[in-house]
Symmetry: C2
Subunit: 196 residues, 2 copies
DNA sequence: CTCTGGCTATAACGCTCGTCATAGTCTAGC
DNA sequence: GCTAGACTATGACGAGCGTTATAGCCAGAG
């Protein structure tokens, strides 16, 4: 009993993140998600008894921490190396999916919350963005940028990359991400060099 | 007969753009859209016989050219003024909607195209982005930036603002847009001043 | 007045949605 | 072998979807 076939559960979460990154949250149905993750529909409600909301929240957190892990590792070699890894990660997702997939965190961020409450998935998206920004800002500060400048540059990096991913999908071309990468490299160089 | 109550038609398109900017394309239903635009459901298929696809395409074009018009006007006073107007526009939309609305062009860009064809709405989104970038790049070049730098900065501006809008919605805070604005001002100043 | 044609109202089609309930299968522990 | 509990299979519920069809309204042309 205590086994709890975790691979199945994790496969569902990962599949949800992928599917949300392609179609958006509202357009992702649990039925198709189960099929995509090769899991029975009944299992999704077994593992995620709170339904779609819980599934979406865990998918966003899953993607957020996965990116955070990569970022944390690559930022050891400095902010510029972290930027390169961050971009390479998204580039791979966009290219491998033939411009069909993007960032699940962004996808959740751009859907209107119902009524007057903020759904946990949206809060998870905010936390993901904050985590990425914090890691970037810390690395920038550690390499000579002053506090305000670090926060600003970190926000610009995350916003610019997220926006560029969407632009690449619309244009079916990697040009926006390429252009943005070059600009962000210069901004980071200026921030760690020039200080403020 | 020749009257063709155009105000009704335009109200539907504008309502579609607003609704898409809040909920995304797939999650926007024609029934709710008609209600939101105070138009009868039958009228939507009368004005847009190709259905939702045509409606989405026109909505994206409507938003794209509206922004272009503002951009074109404000860029007369230079790239920095254009950036300020661009940001003020989105800031108004995000704040007035209490973080519920964003950019309809972005919303369309992040939804997976069906099968193997590219829907016209997605193509319209790409054109909207290209239009904004082109106007920004032209203004930058006219004020001393060299060709490559202008294209890069223009892409960064559009990507950064689009990404920041989404981040603001997730965090329910205008901080990302504020931070990005300051960074983009500096980038533009560097591009028109330093040249390359 | 009649008639025409743009617009609207209403109902229906087949489909998918999120969610729940129920019954069944399989394995781990005794 | 047997029971308990984790997992799966299946089907149903009401609701909403995009779209179409049909009939009705109502201003302007003749």
């Amino acid at each position: 009993m205590a086994k709890s076939s975790a691979p199945s559960r994790e496969r569902i979460v990962a599949g949800a993140a992928d599917m949300i990154s392609r179609r958006g949250l509202n357009a992702t149905s649990i039925r198709e998600l189960a099929k995509h993750a090769k899991a029975p529909l009944g299992s999704t409600y077994h593992y995620f008894p709170e339904g779609k909301q819980q599934l979406a929240t865990e998918a966003v957190r899953y993607a957020g921490t996965a990116v955070e892990r990569i970022l944390r590792k690559e930022l050891d070699a400095g902010p510029a190396a972290g930027l390169r890894a961050f971009l390479a990660l998204w580039r791979g997702i966009v290219v491998d999916s033939d411009y069909r997939a993007g960032c699940p965190v962004l996808a959740v961020s751009v859907e209107e919350p119902p009524a007057d409450e903020i759904p946990p998935a949206l809060a998870a998206a905010a936390e993901a963005f904050e985590g990425w920004e914090r890691l970037l800002a810390e690395s920038l500060r550690a390499h000579g940028a002053d506090r305000d400048q670090a926060a600003g540059v970190a926000a610009l990096v995350v916003a610019g990359v997220e926006g560029a991913i969407a632009m690449c999908r619309a244009k079916r071309s990697m040009t926006p991400l390429d252009l943005v990468e070059r600009q962000l490299e210069a901004v980071i160089a200026g921030a760690v060099g020039g200080g403020g």
